[in-house]
Structures are given as structure tokens and as C-alpha cells.
């Protein structure tokens, strides 16, 4: 009895793996193998990247798989993933590095192994890849500033709440915003919430207390935005103090519908996935691809603003 159980379970273990492998790898798959590596595997943003990449793969006859580390901070797991993909003999890789510096060495290793590599969503510091496909963050920030100027008069005081200080993409968005607002809006120093929505609420409340003259908040990411929105609601400032945020998530869309947020500047993750796979297809065909592909932004305004 016991040995029967043992054998059944050992077989079950083997079957689980064989089945999962079989389910994903159809027999006789044609076309090159492309791996898309996100910063994470869950969440709306990465699902959109995956959707765009998978669709492009289907259209172009490539075999696309999506991979990612268990959490966005697990840099070592992302490096391991990239190493394993190099070993697997994959033909092309699109990767969004969890950390711009940490991935430099392994990206170089992949290129040296003859794999076509592009970065998407964010880039490596050494830029040893064929192309970067993503948002022009400075332009996105400038766009947000232009939207802010439609909402409040010139000379208004604007507060900025950011995620983590030192994150390259957020930095570029704030720089873009600051440049476009120069001489037209008075900007307070950006306050970080370290990617914590609860902290963003506190930061916004403190700003409202210390600077009652603030008439508009700019938040450069999808966590700070909802946090500030929450603070505006509880302080009864919704709609009176305006909110312009980067990204569109269900949270932020809800705030827009309620009139708490006025404008959302959306990145286009689905387009990133799609354009990355298309660029890799061109690279595999021996074509030259541009070193920088802008996926653009989409401005979502409240109907009455």
C-alpha cells in the first residue's frame, strides 16, 4: 500500500511537470523563440505588456513566452531568469530590468551569446542592447505640465509626490514636468512615498497642512496618485485642489470618474510588448532597428475638464 502510494505520487510529480511543459510547448512549434521578461508577473501593467507581446508573436509566427521574477525587487531572481534563458538557447529577449545597473553584466552576456536583446519599459545604464522600447518619460512629464496649465492659472503653487527618489524613469518625468512648467508654475520640492500608498496619503496631508496655497498635485506614478487622491477626499479638497497623475489603473480611473483626479497621462504597456516583439523580429531578420522606440502616451481627461 505504502509503496503504491509512493509510486503514484512520484508519477504524479512527473506528470505535473510533463503536462505543464506539454501544455505550453505545442509539438512542432515553428518560428524563433522570443522571451519577454517583465519586472513582475502579476498586475495590470505587466499583463498588458504580456498581452501585446503575445499578440505580436501570434501575428508574426514567433513563439513568445512571458517570464518575470516573483517580486519587482527580486533582482537576483531576474538575473537567474536571464541566465537560464541564455542557456535555453532562446533567439531573442526583451527585458525590463528591475534595476538599471544590476542587469548590465547579464545583458552583455546574452548579446555575446548571439541573442538579440532589447529593453522595454526601462533601460540598463550601460545600454548594451539593440534598442530601448518605452515611454519618453521627459515628454510624458512635459505633457502632464501642459495639462496642469489648462487646469490652474499661471503662477499657481504645485506639489509633486513621487515614488522612490532615484528611480530613473520617475526622475525623468519630474524633470520633464519641471522644464515645461518653468516660469509658469511654482513647484514645491518633490516628496517621496517610497512606493507605499499609505505613506503617500500622509505626505499629501502634510503638504496640505503646511502649504494651504497648493492648488494642484502632480504624481508621477500609479501608487502616489491614488494616495494623494485619498488624502484630497478625506480633507474635503476633492475637485478644489486638482490632481494630475501618470498612469491609468482601475484605482486612478475611479478617482477620475469621481472627479478627484482631472487628468491621467497613460503609458502604453500593451504597445511596449507589441513593439518590442516586432523590433526583435526585424533584428532576427537581419534588419537594423532604431536604438530608441517611443511608445508614446495617451492623455485621459475628465469629460468636463
Amino acid at each position: 500500500m505504502r509503496s503504491w502510494l509512493n509510486r503514484t505520487m512520484a508519477l504524479g510529480l512527473l506528470a505535473a511537470i510533463a503536462l505543464s511543459a506539454g501544455a505550453i510547448e505545442p509539438a512542432g512549434a515553428v518560428g524563433a523563440r522570443v522571451a519577454v521578461i517583465g519586472k513582475g508577473i502579476g498586475g495590470e501593467y505587466w499583463s498588458a505588456v504580456r498581452k501585446g507581446a503575445t499578440r505580436a508573436g501570434r501575428d508574426l509566427g514567433l513563439k513568445v513566452t512571458y517570464q518575470g521574477p516573483p517580486t519587482e525587487t527580486d533582482v537576483a531572481a531576474q538575473i537567474a531568469l536571464l541566465e537560464n534563458l541564455i542557456q535555453s538557447g532562446v533567439d531573442a529577449i526583451a527585458i525590463s530590468p528591475c534595476n538599471a545597473r544590476s542587469l548590465n553584466r547579464t545583458v552583455r552576456k546574452a548579446m555575446a551569446a548571439g541573442i538579440k536583446v532589447v529593453t522595454l519599459d526601462s533601460d540598463t545604464t550601460d545600454k548594451d542592447r539593440l534598442s530601448y522600447i518605452g515611454t519618453d518619460n521627459a515628454e510624458a512629464g512635459a505633457m502632464a505640465a501642459r495639462e496642469a496649465l489648462r487646469l490652474v492659472p499661471e503662477g499657481s503653487v504645485v506639489a509633486m509626490v513621487t515614488g522612490v527618489l532615484g528611480a530613473q524613469n520617475l526622475q525623468e518625468r519630474r524633470t520633464g514636468f519641471t522644464r515645461a512648467a518653468k516660469g509658469k508654475l511654482r513647484l514645491l520640492a518633490a516628496q517621496p512615498d517610497n512606493g507605499d500608498k499609505a505613506r503617500a496619503v500622509e505626505v499629501a496631508e502634510n503638504i496640505l497642512t503646511a502649504h494651504p496655497e497648493v492648488t494642484l498635485f502632480f504624481t508621477d506614478n500609479a501608487i502616489s496618485g491614488p494616495g494623494v487622491g485619498q488624502a484630497l477626499k478625506t480633507r474635503g479638497k476633492a475637485g478644489k485642489v486638482k490632481l494630475v497623475s501618470m498612469d491609468v489603473t482601475p484605482d486612478l480611473q475611479g478617482l477620475l470618474d469621481q472627479g478627484v483626479a482631472s487628468v491621467l497621462v497613460a503609458q502604453q504597456p500593451e504597445k511596449m510588448g507589441e513593439l518590442a516583439v516586432r523590433a526583435l523580429k526585424d533584428a532576427l531578420a537581419g534588419k537594423r532597428i532604431p536604438g530608441r522606440i517611443d511608445t508614446g502616451v495617451r492623455v485621459v481627461r475628465r469629460k468636463d475638464s
Binding site: 511537470i17 512571458y66 516573483p70 534595476n99 544590476s102 553584466r105 532615484g166
Partner: protein
């Protein structure tokens, strides 16, 4: 108190070998399967990659084996790893990058000391103030992460000196330093667990602490020192990790405690305490490393990987349970 308790103390002797062979069989089956499905699995380079990728969890799991043998748990290992690499990074990075510019060796020393100190606090809370290990290390999990964020202002410490990267990327005559460190820690840990008083007391603490006390041993210092060991090994794992990712992030190591605990349990340890096997732990770490690697080689997508890893962890433990009951 049941009379059968002492027979559970089996860190040494023949029976653990039978028990240990089950996870090993599962590992070999898995490797066989992957070699059949992917021509690239069974290469020297690929197996080397798996070993390096597993080494930081492997180091943490060595300490975790002792802690779990006592019937305790250390949830703080991932945060202690993060705090240790931040301390190491701040000590060794040049002044322009906000560090103290004290060189690689001083940085490694600071990292290890930090890990041991954090482990020491855990040990005192548990052995002196009689907090449950779950609560004490849950607190440390948050405290260590908080201190890491305060020290670094939430930003990664960059410009880690080239010399410090050797632990993550360098090798000695073809053997990666990371793997050498893991193997040395596991061998030493196995010796201590099987053949020294500390190891025997660890298992005795887990199966019947009262009996140990009645035999004239003060359990507190022994128990506490095992948490120091766990903190120290988390810091050592951190130094390997630092070498691999080349900057010290206060957000590093989230979830590492779960990987380490899973590896120890796959290796045949009981979360109730009283038994643990270092060889089993090494096999457990390898099993998870092989799974992660093999599934990627087979182009299995990320969601299916999570599912399969979960199923295999549970099956491996069930297999062991049935064998031993």
C-alpha cells in the same frame, strides 16, 4: 510527555540516510526528466548556473535548518540580508556615493557583524524574554527592513568596489566563490548538526526542551546562539547576493524566508522541530533551483512555473511523510 519522544532525535545515525534519500530520489527524477525534455539541461555550464543561482538561498537554509530543528522559525532572514548588504555597501562604497570608503574587507566585516547582531537580538527576545520565535522574528523582519531604509534613505547604494563582486561573479580555479561558500557552510553545518553538542541540543530543544532542562542543560544560550548563526548566514548570503546584483538595495530579499523554509522542509525537517538534515536541506535547495531552471529551459510561462513549484514542494513533503509514517 510521551516516552517515544527521544527517538525523534536522530540527527546522526543510519535512519536519516533512508529519510534523506527520498528528496534525493525526487531530485534525480526531476533532473532525469529535464534532461530528456531539454538537450541543454545537462551541461556543465547550466548545472553551474543552477548552483550559483541557488547559493544565497542555500546559505540562508543552512542556518534555517538549525532553527527549524529547535522547533523555531526565522522569518527575518530576508530583511536581515537586506540590512546586512546595506551596512556592507555603506561601509565599502566611496564617499562620493554616500559610503565610508573603508574597503571591501571592512565592508564584508560590517555586513557579517550586522547580521550576527540582528540574529543576537532575535535570540535574546526568544531565549530571555520567552517570545515565540514567530513573533520575535516577525518583528525583526520589519525592524531590519526599516533600519535598512533609514540608513540608505530608501535608495540603493551604488558604486560597490569591484573586489566585492567576486563573491557573486568570480571563481577559484573554475569553482564559483558563491558555490564554494555554500558548500563549505553546508559541510560545516552538517558536521555541527550531526556530531557536536550544539547540533544534538538543537534537535533536543525541538523534541523535548523540558527533558533537556531536567538533564541539567540551560537551553537559553544554546537556542539564542542558533539565531545568531541564522543571522550570520543570512549576512553571508547577502554578501553573495551583493556580488551578483552589484548594488545594495534596502528592498532586497523579500520572500527569501519562504524559499529557505520550503527547502529545509523538503529536505525532511519537521516544522514541529526535533529533526533536520543538512544533506536534505542542500537537496531541497537544489530541487527548487533545478525546477526554476528547467521550467525556463522548457519555455514554461511564469504563471505555470509558480503552480508547478508549489505542487512539487507539497508533493515532495508528502512523499517524505508517507515514507516515514
Amino acid at each position: 510527555m510521551t516516552g517515544a519522544m527521544p527517538t525523534k532525535i536522530e540527527a546522526a545515525g543510519l535512519r536519516p540516510w533512508i529519510r534523506q534519500s527520498m528528496p534525493l530520489v525526487a531530485l534525480l527524477l526531476l533532473m532525469g526528466l529535464f534532461s530528456l525534455l531539454s538537450a541543454r539541461f545537462l551541461s556543465f555550464e547550466n548545472l553551474g548556473n543552477i548552483a550559483v543561482q541557488s547559493s544565497h538561498i542555500g546559505l540562508i537554509a543552512v542556518g534555517m535548518t538549525f532553527v527549524i530543528a529547535t522547533g523555531g522559525i526565522d522569518l527575518s532572514v530576508g530583511s536581515v540580508l537586506a540590512l546586512s548588504i546595506c551596512a556592507a555597501g555603506l561601509t565599502m562604497a566611496p564617499a562620493e556615493s554616500g559610503g565610508a570608503g573603508q574597503g571591501v574587507l571592512a565592508g564584508w566585516g560590517a555586513g557579517l557583524l550586522t547580521g550576527a547582531l540582528a540574529g543576537g537580538v532575535n535570540g535574546l527576545l526568544i531565549s530571555r524574554l520567552k517570545l515565540s520565535p514567530f513573533i520575535a522574528t516577525l518583528g525583526m523582519m520589519s525592524v531590519a527592513r526599516g533600519v535598512a531604509n533609514v540608513l540608505t534613505d530608501g535608495m540603493p547604494v551604488e558604486d560597490i568596489p569591484e573586489g566585492a563582486l567576486a563573491l557573486g561573479t568570480g571563481d577559484l580555479a573554475g569553482m564559483p566563490w558563491a558555490v564554494l561558500l555554500w558548500v563549505a557552510a553546508a559541510l560545516l553545518g552538517g558536521l555541527v548538526l550531526g556530531w557536536t553538542r550544539l547540533g544534538r541540543y538543537a534537535c533536543a530543544l525541538g523534541s523535548n526542551e523540558e527533558a533537556l532542562r531536567l538533564s541539567g542543560v540551560r537551553p537559553g544560550p544554546w537556542k539564542g546562539s542558533l539565531y545568531v548563526l541564522s543571522g550570520l548566514l543570512s549576512a553571508a548570503a547577502g554578501l553573495v547576493f551583493l556580488g551578483r546584483v552589484s548594488n545594495a538595495q534596502p528592498s532586497a530579499g523579500v520572500g527569501f524566508e519562504l524559499d529557505a523554509i520550503a527547502a529545509v522542509v523538503i529536505g525532511g525537517a519537521s516544522l514541529m522541530g526535533g529533526r533536520g538534515s543538512m544533506a536534505g536541506t542542500v537537496v531541497g535547495v537544489a530541487l527548487m533551483g533545478v525546477l526554476r531552471n528547467g521550467l525556463v529551459l522548457l519555455d514554461v510561462s511564469a504563471f505555470w512555473q509558480q503552480l508547478v513549484i508549489g505542487v512539487v514542494v507539497v508533493l515532495a513533503v508528502l512523499l517524505d511523510r508517507w515514507r516515514t509514517n
